[in-house]
């Protein structure tokens, strides 16, 4: 994180800086390989000449073998060297690009917040991931390619001049010509390329904006507007890309054409010289060959030139968009800076936006360490801006903010981060586990304590309890599916289950329907009542599912005499569903407690209209199976429209016993009946502990069960284990598995864990329910008062009487400041905010 003030910022660095920084050794190795390869490339040319002139012409077989041998060795060496050079180039390129990306990314993360308000994430992504890759490719080539090719060119040129100066001079005339034309074309290509980079970036931003606002787009059906916006950009991009390609290929073609003129001149002029005896035929062949070989390095040089131009354009454009300098440095001051006590004095504070808008106007107040201030007022009054200035999230324009008499602008950002905790209204939760998010702020501190000790776990649990998230974390832990664990875990969980049943069994009987082998389980389906256990591999519900399609199971129902009664039950369910729900459309809400799912109602209608009276025994097999499937999913406790016949329930209990006996054959993969001494693998720890199902229709059931389970876990000394499991549970992508309230609680907890002396809260409890808000309020009043300074932007005015001071903001000004009682007594703005304008005297 430390930045050396002596060096220039990352965005100012030249492209060549990256090619050579940390890569000097590799570049030197590359250079030596290049010198070797140039030599290895010239040798075959000389050998060609000698093979023809000395060996073939003089019929010297030994010489032929020798020259051929040297030829092949040189060729092989050149190929091997080329491979090594390519590898090194790629290595240097990737290294340079990675360093470039890392440093730029670090730079971007530190950029001021206003930068991100106007920057689309898509632009940052495309800059870092796409545009910089060209610069990386260039970094790998920056040294090796021009050097290899210039040296090769020089070597061939010298060789050609040595062979025949006149002929050489004539053929080489082409190259200056090419060097005149190509830069002209390149200039045009660069212009197109600059435009292309800019339009690409706008397109990325446009896409990012549309995706961010997808909710609005779909709600308003604005598909066409967004497609049009994108379409226009895509069209412009197409045009500029075509133009760009045209110039790029123009350069290539021009180059090919002019270098193709080389052999033409050799044939014409060289042929003339040979005919006049001024040049040996072998020399002309060698000349032709060398002349053709000039083409490759030349082409590579031109390619390099194009890559260089492209990379420079992209690199400059990319870096230029991030040239904003960070507002603050991140270093800690030298030595041990004293911790902030929490004493704060704000004087004549002003804040102007970059557009010149004054959001804070002469705000002054002071707080003793440990005092609590509520900031209230009208929206747009500058409440959030005020606490964000105090939290050093952006620099203030005028006035002063002093902590313990030290000016905020002179305190390092890291010092502020260490001693000030900030909780925003809609905190961001990172993809990961609860624990990772909990430790997020603390781990960023310079001397982050090591997480993991039991003491640390205790502290984490305490913080979770304080903010009211502990119950949620426990629930996450309890809802974690039970893995096939070791014998110890099994023993412990069974012990907890037994204790819960013993101590709370009677009290919870109206909340939980415990699994009991002897009685019909009304909150389970008929299928679950028959297969009263977990079977197959993993969850009992998924594998070897007992249904009409399962032949063995169908046969089993036949032998137990359940088949027909169940078909009859299915028919009865279908008739009742049709009676109540037919013709109402597939509204989800109506089918919540219906034994017939919405998508099957139509079939029920058809079936019952064919069979207005009578039983289902005469129905074809297909219809019977359909009704059987309905009946097997029938759950008396939920599907209250239909009654389960007592006789049928008794028969199901008999079948249950028989199923357990025959389970080995019926459910491949093993079967564990629901019993007191067995766990249900794949089901949650909680289900394994209370071992039953929650009865519907008792809103407080969950809470009562939780209390009983917690109590038992404490008694069995297993609470922390479950909490630890809960803290490892993932919060989903960007915390999407947490509710708004849970996210706010987690955000408060992560700030608390680092124990700051000043806590800034920007409507930090707005998503919490009444109870949770009261809890945080209590925490502030009882635990923080006198110890931590709190500045809270508060939206609910019914709870601000617990704050020491109230600040009322309006249009960037502090219009009232004082204790709650005083301000209410004044009957000013606060009174108006709470009681409204026209209240008659109470």
């Amino acid at each position: 994180m430390k930045r050396d003030p002596g060096t220039s910022p990352v965005t100012e660095k030249s492209l060549f800086h990256w090619a050579f920084r940390d890569n000097l050794k590799l570049q030197l190795i590359l250079l030596s390989l290049i010198l070797l390869i140039v030599g290895a490339r010239v040798v075959p040319l000389e050998m060609q000449k000698r093979i023809i002139n000395d060996a073939i012409a003089l019929k010297n077989l030994d010489a032929l073998f020798l020259y051929c041998l040297i030829y092949i060795i040189a060729l092989t060496t050149a190929s091997a060297l080329k491979l090594a050079i390519n590898y090194l180039q790629a290595l240097i390129g990737e290294r340079a690009m990675t360093v470039m990306r890392k440093e730029l990314y670090e730079h971007i993360l530190g950029l001021p917040l206003h930068f991100f308000r106007t920057t689309q994430p898509g632009m940052v992504v495309s800059s870092l991931m796409t545009e910089l890759s060209a610069a990386g490719t260039f970094a790998g080539m920056a040294f090796a390619v021009p050097l290899t090719n210039i040296l090769t060119l020089l070597a061939f040129t010298v060789y050609l001049l040595w062979l025949n100066p006149k002929l050489a001079a004539t053929t080489l005339v082409i190259y200056p010509l090419v060097m005149l034309i190509i830069p002209q074309l390149q200039k045009r290509a660069n212009q197109a390329n600059k435009k292309r980079v800019d339009i690409s970036r706008s397109t990325s931003s446009q896409i990012a904006e549309s995706i961010s606002g997808i909710h609005e787009i779909q709600v308003h059906g604005a598909y066409r507007q967004e497609s049009d916006k994108f379409g226009q950009l895509a069209e412009r991009l197409k045009k500029v890309r075509i133009r760009w390609s045209l110039f790029r290929f123009g350069i290539k073609t021009a180059n090919n054409y002019f270098t193709g003129l080389g052999p033409f001149i050799v044939f014409l002029y060289g042929g003339y010289l040979v005919m006049h005896g001024q040049l040996a035929l072998g020399a002309m062949v060698a000349f032709l060959s060398a002349q053709e070989k000039l083409f490759d390095p030349w082409k590579e040089l031109i390619d390099f030139y194009q890559v260089y131009q492209d990379a420079t354009v992209r690199y400059r454009r990319t870096m230029r968009s991030f040239t904003t300098t960070p507002d603050f440095t991140l270093e800690l001051p030298a030595g041990d800076a004293p911790r902030l006590s929490g004493e704060l004095a704000v004087h004549a504070l002003t804040y102007d936006t970059t557009d010149g808008l004054r959001l804070l106007n002469g705000v002054s107040f002071s707080l003793q360490a440990g005092e609590h201030l509520a900031v209230v007022g009208f929206s747009g009054g500058g409440k959030s801006t005020l606490i964000q200035c105090i939290g050093k999230m952006f620099p203030y324009s005028g006035g002063s903010i002093q902590f313990d008499g030290r000016e905020l602008s002179e305190l390092g950002k890291m010092e502020i981060i260490r001693d000030i905790g900030y909780v925003s209204q809609s905190p961001f939760i990172f993809t990961g586990t609860v624990r990772e998010n909990l430790l997020y702020a603390r781990q960023a501190l310079p001397a982050a304590p090591q997480a993991g000790g039991t003491e640390d776990l205790d502290r984490q649990i305490l913080v979770l309890q304080q903010v009211g998230l502990f119950v949620d974390v426990m629930r996450f832990g309890l809802e974690t599916p039970l893995e096939p664990e070791d014998a110890e875990t099994t023993r412990r969980i069974l012990a907890i289950r037994a204790r819960l049943r013993q101590e709370f069994g009677k009290k919870l009987a109206d909340c939980i329907e415990f699994y009991d082998w002897q009685s019909y389980h009304r909150t389970s389906t008929i299928a679950e009542n028959i297969v009263f256990g977990s079977g197959g591999s993993g969850s009992g519900r998924d594998s070897g599912r007992p249904g009409p399609d399962n032949q063995l199971f169908r046969q089993f129902l036949g032998t137990t005499g359940l088949l027909l009664p169940l078909v009859e039950l299915g028919l009865s369910l279908a008739r009742q569903a049709v009676d109540v729900l037919a013709g109402l459309g597939g509204i989800e809400l109506f089918f919540k407690n219906s034994p017939v799912p919405a998508d099957q109602l139509e079939r029920c209608e058809a079936l019952t209209s064919r069979l207005p009276h009578g039983g289902g025994s005469d129905l074809p097999r297909q219809d019977q199976d359909f009704l059987l499937a309905l009946a097997l999913q029938f759950t008396p406790a939920n599907h209250t429209m239909t009654r389960l016949d007592d006789e049928l329930a008794a028969d199901i209990l008999t079948a249950r016993l028989l199923f357990a006996k025959q389970a080995a054959g019926l459910l491949p993969g093993g079967f564990t009946p629901y019993g007191e001494t067995a766990l249900i693998p794949g089901q949650s720890i909680l289900n394994n502990i209370f071992f039953g199902r929650i009865r519907p229709g008792m809103p407080s059931a969950q809470e009562r069960i939780n209390r009983a389970v917690m109590h038992t876990l404490v008694e069995e000394d297993y609470l922390e284990k479950i909490a630890a499991i809960g803290m490892e549970s993932p919060v989903g992508t960007m915390g999407d598995r947490l509710s708004g309230g849970q996210r706010q609680k987690l955000a408060i907890a992560r700030v608390l864990l680092k124990q700051p002396s000043i806590i800034l809260m920007d409507e930090a409890t707005s998503a919490l329910d009444n109870k949770s808000q009261t809890r945080i309020q209590r925490l502030m009043t009882n635990r923080w008062r006198g110890k931590r300074t709190v500045i809270a932007v508060v939206h609910r005015l019914d709870s601000i009487d617990t704050f020491d001071k109230i600040a009322v903001m309006k249009a960037g000004k502090l219009v009232e400041y004082g204790s709650y009682q005083d301000l209410i007594g004044q009957r000013g703005m606060l009174h108006e905010l709470i009681y409204g304008k026209n209240l008659p005297d109470a």
Binding site: D510, S572, R575, Q576, D579, V580, L581, L584, G585, I587, L589, F590, N593, S594, T608, P612, H613, T640, M641, T642, R643, P696, G697, M698, P699, S700, R704, N770
Partner: protein
Amino acid sequence: MNSSTEKICQTPELQENLQLFGELPCFATFPPKAMKLLAFLAERYRFADGDLIFEEGDDFGRLYLLLAGHLRLLAGKGQNVVCEFRPKEFLGTFSLLGRLPALFSLEATTASTVLSISREQLAKVVEQFPECANSYLHSLLRELHRWEARSCRRVAGGGQEQLGVTVL
């Protein structure tokens, strides 16, 4: 009700719901098919002694018909009892109309069972049977009128400034 209805063995619960809702003035004039749907959708909730059913400030959005037990409505931080409910009595008809933060809390003082319909459920029923909307509003209006007429008689001695809801 169509011809097949008689043949279907309904649970006592569904029939009971039908009968109970039939006695409620706000549903009494609903067409039979809508009543049946409402009775099907209605949920029974059980509360333990001391359970808070909703709290002041909550948008509870439900009609509660007390089947068994005892409920009381509490106001303010002092938890003053506003009124009490015994079986067959109901509350929450206004809350079915739209979002409204509760001015009171509702507490069960013994183990209680209620039959309940949510705002969302009623809205979906009204979507299917639009004529229900008017009949529901009329019944509320009648109820409000009756309530104020009763209040007028009660406060004849003084406190008239609290009256006048029906001319709002």
